[in-house]
């Protein structure tokens, strides 16, 4: 299991953050650029960590498509620029000078890898946090310490990240955020500090009881606003009901 986390962590390590910041050396390939290449390179570099979309480049430079494409290829080959995934416009070609790291707007932030939300990583983090809190009331720092000590992940996690994960668990209604009273369950946490505790669930099924509406067909029905007693969609002809009452 631990190997599995490490692997995912490794993948993250090799993500955007592992790209070395390359400075063009003296006598660098940039000396031997064509005019078109130079214009494009300067434009791309000028956009810093935001990079630029190929279509915008064509518009801003007024260079013919063919030349732009050829020059980009050449700049890529010389490792002066790189292609990055822009989460806003996936599938479109977005370029950036090699020495820059894509900004948060482009990558989607620390939870994104290769332009997609790193769902697997987030879900493992959530599971681990939940596992810890199900045993005892805990603070974010405490959980982070535990993760570091057990070397579960090869990436460096921050308290802020753990807090973000915990907040999402609160939104899932798996845990609650409360201030420690210093007594009982909270005895391990200093009074007044924010800590997390598992939410009380229906002990038999581990799921909170569904509400009155959620446990009948109409409560979760996508067509409720089109349903009328004598209409085409009606409670007497309703398929959801027929299914529900099918003993």
């Amino acid at each position: 299991m631990i190997g599995g986390f490490a692997e995912i962590g490794m993948r993250r390590l090799q993500g955007p953050s592992s790209l070395k910041r390359k400075q063009p050396d003296s006598g660098s390939p940039s000396d031997s650029l064509t005019d078109a290449e130079r214009i494009l390179y300067n434009l791309i570099r000028g956009k810093q960590d935001m990079g630029i979309w190929s279509r915008d480049m064509k518009r801003e430079t007024n260079l013919p498509d063919q030349i732009v494409n050829k020059s980009l290829k050449s700049l890529l080959a010389k490792q002066l620029i790189k292609e990055v995934v822009n989460i806003q416009k996936k599938g479109s070609k977005h370029y950036m000078a090699t020495e820059f790291e894509p900004s948060k707007e482009i990558t989607g932030g620390e939870w994104y890898a290769d332009g997609s939300l790193d769902v697997a990583f987030i879900s493992i983090l959530k599971d681990q946090c939940l596992k810890y809190i199900s045993k005892k009331v805990a603070t974010a720092d405490e959980i982070l310490d535990w993760m570091k000590k057990s070397r579960m992940f090869s990436v460096d996690l921050t308290t802020k990240q753990i807090e973000q994960i915990l907040r999402a668990l609160v939104l899932d209604n798996d845990i609650m955020e409360i201030k420690s009273t210093g007594y009982g369950d909270f005895s391990s946490v200093k009074e007044g500090r924010v800590c997390y505790k598992c939410t009380k669930k229906d002990s038999r099924r581990g799921e909170p009881n569904a509400g009155a509406m959620a446990s009948i067909p109409c409560g979760v029905c996508p067509r409720i606003s089109h349903c009328t007693p004598d209409g085409i969609i009606s409670p007497t002809t309703c398929v959801y009901y027929t299914k529900w009452l099918d003993f």
Binding site: Q88, A212, C218, P222
Partner: protein, 525 residues
């Protein structure tokens, strides 16, 4: 807060119980507000006789209240033509929960009381004479004093009350206010106007406390525990009018006493159910002990509550609360400190022990409503929508799409789609921030508007209750032939079908009762 589907549900209930004609009259009153007899005849296109009889049925069952407007100069000329009829939406919906009211009575009283109360629910309003007559015609008849005794018990517990004044007079002032508002408001507002009017009519019709719960029996025993507090010489004009209406300025004759009409006091049942909902919610959220403390407090202060929708419990000192707790059997293990700690858990600020404590009931109700809404969102729109909805609901302010995506770990390109779906179904409020002259896409801001949302949910619940009830009626009709097969002939596949029918009915009926709990949570609590 009467919604379109609420009206449909109410009309459906009335149709089921009293047939189409009565329902037609009732529907007109619900949709158009208050009407006179002439108006009703015109709108329903029924005969005068039919409308009159329908109104009588509705009044008998406490679904309509008549009132008249005070005529200028105090003259009573034309008073009859002036009589207005008002449908009482809440009372119509209460018909759905009669089984719950009856259950409350049978939990707390003997069989005689249950019989008497059942009669009141069935017939709407009864005089003592009628009650006695009914009891004597039963299979195992009971004597008059048993009936009187049962009535006395139920009235003392406030589960039964005297009927309101048949036709209270509403002063010109109230009327001017409402007509002015009516003119100013568009039809969408009609509900709100009816609501304030309804409140003043009902308030004017309800007898003074001292009369409302007083039974003078033949033996002369009298329940009027509030008489001392109410016998102050200063009586408001309205109260004076009520006194006149009851002829209480003179000693009522024995015959007059026998003519007093009695009915179930729905308010007291709803109060009890609200208390129960609060304690059960606390039990779910905290634990049994916290629920017990709340229960003890609510029982102790029950008669001191001035209305059903109390924002918070009536303040009590820690000593009184402790005494109330140890009155309950399981409460005897409690210590003073433990009770105090539980009060803090229940949301009372930590205070010195001689201060008084009051528990925020509206907060508890709000949390219960949130649970219900969130569970709908989760089951209808999925886990990610649930997380987003909870984020917005907790924050209580406008949040931008990207911020929502970040905080809920939802893929950025999926976030607007989910939010849009919730918005389209009226679960979210949305605002656009457009940047003129920029090629940037609009910023979208989202928010949960709780009051609007609750209204919407209530409407959906009424719709769902209507559907459940229609489906139940349909299933019953469909299975009628099977049910008519005599017992001895029920063999083979018929037995199986029979079992299925029972299951279907049970499921539908219990779902309707559970949904009704939720309806009360959003409408009556």
């Amino acid at each position: 807060m009467v919604t379109q589907n609420g009206i449909k549900l109410a009309v459906h209930l009335i149709t089921n119980h009293f047939g189409n004609l009565v329902a037609k009259v009732c529907e007109n009153l619900l949709r158009k507000g208050t009407l006179t007899l002439e108006h009703l005849i015109r709108f329903t296109e029924l005969t005068r006789e039919q409308v009159k009889n329908s109104l009588l049925v509705l009044i008998q069952h406490n679904c309509v209240q008549a009132y008249s407007l005070e005529v200028e100069g105090g003259s009573t000329y034309g008073a009859k033509a002036n009589t207005q009829y008002l449908a009482i939406f809440d009372n119509i919906l209460h018909r759905l929960r009669f089984p719950k009211f009856l259950a409350t009575v049978s939990e707390n009283f003997d069989n005689e009381c249950v019989e008497l109360f059942e009669g009141l629910l069935r017939d709407g309003r009864l005089t003592i004479t009628q009650m006695v007559a009914r009891a004597s015609q039963r299979e195992n008849p009971v004597a008059e004093d048993v009936v009187r005794d049962s009535l006395l018990k139920l009235v003392t517990a406030r589960y039964v009350e005297r009927c309101p004044v048949p036709e209270p007079v509403i002063s010109k002032l109230d009327k001017d206010e409402t007509t002015a508002k009516k003119r100013a408001a568009k039809s969408a507002k009609i509900n709100e106007i009816t609501e304030t009017l309804e409140q003043s009519v009902l308030a004017a019709a309800v007898p003074m406390e001292v009369i409302r719960f007083s039974v003078t029996t033949n033996t002369g025993s009298c329940v009027n525990r509030d008489i001392s507090s109410n016998s102050s010489p200063i009586i408001g004009v309205g109260e004076k009018r009520k006194l006149d209406a009851y002829g209480l300025d003179k000693e009522p004759s024995a015959e007059e006493k026998e003519l007093v009409l009695w009915r179930a006091n729905f308010e007291e049942f709803i109060r009890g159910l609200r208390h129960k909902a609060c304690t059960e919610n606390v039990r779910k959220r905290l634990d049994d002990d916290a629920a017990m403390v709340l229960k003890a407090i609510l029982e102790e202060t029950r008669s001191a509550e001035e209305k059903v929708k109390m924002e918070s419990s009536v303040p009590l000192s820690l000593n009184t609360i402790f005494e109330a707790v140890i009155k309950i059997e399981v409460g005897r293990t409690m210590t003073f400190d433990r009770v105090q700690a539980l009060l803090v858990q229940l949301g009372c600020p930590q205070r010195s022990s001689d201060a008084s404590f009051s528990i925020g009931l509206n907060n508890i109700i709000e949390l219960a409503r949130n649970d219900e809404v969130e569970s709908i969102v989760k089951n209808r729109y999925g886990q990610e929508a649930y997380r987003m909805f909870r984020l917005l609901s907790k924050s209580g302010c406008l949040l931008e799409t990207d911020k929502i995506a970040n905080d809920t770990f939802v893929e950025k390109k999926d976030t607007p789609k989910i939010l849009y779906k919730l918005w389209k179904d009226d679960y979210l409020h949305m605002e656009k921030l457009a940047f003129l002259g920029f090629k940037q896409p609009d910023f979208l801001l989202w928010k949960v508007n709780k009051l609007e949302l609750w209204k919407h949910i209530l409407d959906e619940m009424c719709h769902a209750a209507l559907n459940l009830s229609i489906r139940l009626a349909y299933e019953k009709e469909k299975d009628n032939e099977v049910l008519n097969i005599p017992k001895e002939k029920r063999v083979g596949p018929v037995v199986e079908r029979f079992k299925r029918i029972r299951k279907v009915w049970l499921l539908l009926e219990s779902a309707l009762m559970k949904l009704d709990d939720a309806l009360m949570l959003f409408h009556d609590f």
